[in-house]
């Protein structure tokens, strides 16, 4: 199991990365070496030449197939515009061009030098010289051959004269005398007649060839130069033996002579040189062909391998750039966490490491940015919360007079939803809400001054005149203004109330005290002096004292009113049913048949924590006021009272309305009738409605007057449903 895994991992390691290319390069070098070795004649490998050659062709085909695959892949990538394919194609084209150019030059020159080198071995003059030398040797040996033939003929002449019995002895003698190797006599049937051999170690003479027999049969003599392995050359001569008797069988003499050692050696040398030259000359064409083929194959292999390597190296060069490109796109798309694997210590590796550093820094920067953004958001939220919780209204306006922000309090104070008016012009505010015109005018006026300002502005609200204190401060870098305003209406009212209270208190104190003695004195004056004065004047006296008493009573009433107004006894709160309370008060006014009262009941019982006595006073004052107003105008007294719960700004309120059908209230008085001495009635102290307002405000409520559409006026009271005891 372990071995199998090891084997697999080894194969994987050997077939991945640069390893296959290294093996291929080594294989090619070995192959080229063997190929060149096999072309050498002396090599043991030359039997394997075709095998090696075939192997080289197979490898070439394999390489061509691999290249075709690589090129197709490259073309496919290029066509599909794969990342980095253009650069790869450019690099590969460049490499291929360089490889083909350089190998073509080297190949061309090599072929040229090869042809020239091999052809330079051959020379016409050398060839001629060798031919001449061979001819010379032949001539030289030819003389010897002719001499030997003559000698053989002479020997045959001598031997033909001898009887057969003497042949043996004479052949031996002739062998010795002539210096021949061997002398033999043969018949034409191939039978040996007699022989003599100079060398004792050889037993049998050399049998003449069929050619000699044939030639002798044709009655021709034979002489030949026979190359011999041991002794250079031998001269073989064969001559027919003349017949002494016609019945005698045909015979011939064969004599083998040695050739002079020096002549033999020289002839051998000349022949060797000639035949080597001849063979080499003959082999010139195949030699050139085979060398050219070998060289071409090696060049082809090298070129193919180089191109393959070029593709591989191009891909290897482009790969990190491709990664970088993909990384850059990822960064452009917002993925800052992109990290590339950095390989190598070259410039590209440096670039990749720089990229990684850049993305790391970008990530840090983005994180920091996000953190600061969050912090800013928190601060904005904080500021918005602070502004929202402020009781003062805050509005920011940019330098182009657009409203940029407004807090909740500003909308509440102005009774306008400013959130809907954000991003709108300040001047547009008065178009939509004409009541805000004084405020917008003030803001517009101060805008160009570029300095802080403060001004009181009065706005006509539905509930009355509202007094605002506005502060304007320019924002830094002339980016606009911040307007802060406070509703000081209540404060002013309180001040006014306090002043009136003080007046009332003093009046009550200073006037009430002398009134009783004045009344008593007037009554005593009448009582004492009425009998004393003449009867014609008694009536006058009575009238005068009566007037004094009446006026004092009136003054007392007035002083009591003042006293009531000035009195601040504190509220005695208790849960009261509002409907019942109103009903009780109305009951007191039911006696006059000309007076009509209608109570619109709320569907459910409403209990409120109020001071019952003071609230009764409020109702009395309002009803009295309504009755008096109608009566003074000689209009029917028809009063409608209603009460119900309602919600305003998510605050639960009790609304009570008292509506008459009288003359209504003059517009200029509408907002001041609750002020002391603002009455338009002939009767009354002028404090009734002021007291109403005071009591309602003590209950944290609001009261105001409106003219109804047809005729008459309506007094509206808003009371919060929860009233805290002061």
């Amino acid at each position: 199991m372990g071995n199998g895994t090891m084997g697999l991992s080894l194969i994987k390691r050997l077939s991945s990365g640069t390893a296959p290319y290294l093996y291929l390069a080594i294989l090619l070098v070995i192959l080229a070496y063997f190929l060149s070795l096999a072309t050498q004649d002396s090599s043991q490998l030359n039997d394997l030449f075709l095998l090696i050659f075939g192997l080289a062709i197979v490898i070439s085909l394999l390489l061509i197939a691999l290249l075709a695959r690589s090129f197709y892949k490259l073309y496919h990538d290029y066509k599909n515009k794969t990342e980095g394919s253009r650069l790869t194609v450019r690099l590969v084209s460049l490499f291929v061009l360089l490889i083909i150019l350089s190998t073509s030059i080297v190949y061309g020159f090599s072929i040229h030098f090869l042809h020239r080198g091999i052809n330079s071995w051959f020379d016409v003059e050398i060839e001629q010289a060798l031919n001449d030398a061979l001819e010379l040797s032949r001539s030289s040996l030819g003389i010897r051959m002719r001499t030997m033939l003559r000698q053989t003929r002479m020997m045959s002449g001598v031997l033909s004269e001898l009887p057969d019995k003497d042949l043996n002895h004479n052949v031996h003698e002739l062998t010795k005398l002539s210096g021949a190797f061997e002398v033999s006599i043969w018949d034409l049937n191939g039978q040996l007649v007699i022989s003599s051999i100079g060398n004792n170690s050889i037993l049998l003479p050399s049998r003449p060839s069929e050619t000699i027999f044939n030639q002798i049969k044709k009655k021709e003599d034979y002489i030949s130069l026979d190359p011999s392995e041991e002794s250079g050359f031998l001269l073989r001569a064969a001559v027919r033996l003349p017949k002494k008797l016609p019945a005698q069988p045909e015979r011939f003499l064969q004599v083998i002579f040695p050739v002079d050692e020096r002549l033999s050696a020289l002839g051998k040398k000349v022949h060797n040189a000639y035949s080597n030259y001849k063979e080499l000359s003959y082999l010139r064409k195949p030699l050139i062909t085979i060398f050219t083929l070998t060289l071409s194959l090696i060049v082809l292999l090298t070129t193919l391998a180089s191109i393959w390597f070029a593709i591989w190296i191009s891909r290897r060069i482009v790969q990190p750039l491709q990664d970088l490109s993909a990384g850059t796109q990822a960064v452009a798309a917002g993925n800052y966490n992109m990290q590339l694997s950095a390989q190598g210590h070259d410039e590209v590796g440096f670039l990749v490491r720089s990229f990684n550093q850049m993305t790391q820094r970008l990530t840090h920067a983005r994180n920091a940015n996000q953190a600061s953004h969050r912090k800013l958001e928190q601060q904005t939220n904080h500021l918005t919360t602070v502004l929202g919780s402020l009781s003062s209204g805050v509005i920011t306006i940019d330098n182009k007079h657009f409203i940029r922000s407004a807090n909740i309090a500003s909308s509440k104070i102005l009774d306008v939803d400013l959130q809907q008016r954000l991003e709108g012009m300040v001047s547009n505010l008065s178009t939509h809400h004409p009541k805000l015109t004084p405020l917008t005018l003030v803001i517009e006026q101060h805008f160009s001054l570029k300095q802080s300002w403060q001004q009181q502005v009065e706005i006509q609200q539905q509930k009355g005149l509202q007094t605002l204190i506005c502060h304007g401060t320019p924002l830094p870098d002339d980016t606009g203004y911040v307007i802060v305003f406070d509703d000081v209406t209540a404060l002013l009212q309180a001040q006014r109330n306090a002043a009136w209270g003080e007046v009332a208190k003093r009046l009550a104190h200073e006037i009430k005290n002398p009134l009783t003695p004045i009344q008593l004195s007037a009554e005593r004056l009448q009582h004492k002096y009425l009998p004393l004065v003449p009867s014609d004047q008694a009536e006058t006296l009575t009238k005068l004292t009566k007037t004094i008493v009446q006026q004092v009573e009136a003054m007392k009433g007035m002083v009591n009113d003042f006293s009531d107004y000035a009195r601040n006894p504190g509220l005695t709160l208790s849960q009261q049913d509002i409907g019942e309370l109103i009903h009780d008060v109305l009951t007191l006014y039911q006696s006059n048949p000309h007076h009509h009262f209608t109570l619109l009941n709320s569907p459910k019982k409403i209990s409120l924590n109020i001071d019952a006595n003071r609230f009764r006073q409020v109702l009395h004052n309002l009803l009295k006021n309504a009755i008096e107003a109608s009566e003074e105008a000689n209009m029917p007294v028809d009063i409608i009272v209603s009460y119900h719960l309602m919600k305003q700004d998510s605050i639960s309120l009790l609304e009570i309305t008292i509506r008459d059908h009288g003359p209504g209230i003059a517009d200029d008085k509408l907002h001041s009738i609750f002020e002391p001495y603002a009455t338009n009635k002939q009767k009354g102290s002028g404090l009734g409605l002021a007291i109403v307002k005071k009591i309602i405000e003590e209950h944290h409520g609001h009261v105001w007057a409106e003219n109804t559409g047809d005729n008459g006026a309506c007094i509206i009271i808003h009371l919060p449903t929860t009233i805290e005891e002061r």
Binding site: A38, D41, D47, L141, S209, E210, S224, P227
Partner: protein, 186 residues
């Protein structure tokens, strides 16, 4: 020579062309009994192509190979099927070259290194093709029943000088050989 066989096979696969144009022929082949032994007499004709003759004239040595083998047939299913084995196989190689100085054609037995020279090429080839009373091994011939002698001859192209070899191996003009011929028993 396994390497050459592989090379041949390889070339056969690649080029798939006929390697042997069998133009050598065996005129006769006879096995005769002389005494207790047997001898082979045969005549092989070597008609050479102009290309081969040109090489010889240019001093290129040419090697001829004569292959002789004894085959014993042991019948297993009567005459339909028999088991063959080769008890004896021999090869006689001759080198033929032209000696320019003597203007002779030298035939040399590469086994015994004996050589003879002939004034003409046809004489040399005739002598080369003549097998005269070649003694057959008596140890492999206790009986001649089911025994056959096969003979063939070819040019040994691997003995050519290296530069010529690829061309010769691929050229039809060099593909000279005879088929196997069965010798007659006298």
């Amino acid at each position: 020579m396994p390497a050459s066989s592989i090379a041949k096979l390889f070339l056969l696969l690649i080029f798939s062309m006929p390697l042997h144009a069998e133009i050598f022929n065996i005129e006769y082949a006879r096995v005769s009994k002389i005494g207790n032994g047997y001898v082979l007499n045969a005549q092989i004709n070597y008609p050479l192509t102009a290309r081969v003759k040109e090489a010889i004239t240019n001093s290129v040595p040419i090697v001829f190979s004569q292959q002789i083998k004894l085959i014993r047939h042991t019948p297993i299913l009567g005459k339909y099927w028999s088991w063959e084995r080769t008890p004896w196989l021999t090869e006689i190689r001759y080198e033929l070259r032209y000696h320019a100085l003597s203007q002779q054609y030298i035939v040399r037995n590469l086994g015994t290194l004996n050589q003879r020279s002939y004034p003409t090429l046809s004489d040399a080839l005739h002598e080369l093709g003549h097998i005269n009373a070649l003694t057959l091994p008596p140890e492999h011939m206790p009986d001649t029943d089911g025994l056959e002698l096969h003979l063939r001859s070819e040019l040994d192209l691997y003995a050519l000088p290296t530069p010529m070899r690829p061309g010769a191996l691929l050229s039809k003009k060099w593909q000279l050989a005879s088929p196997w011929v069965t010798a007659q028993w006298d």
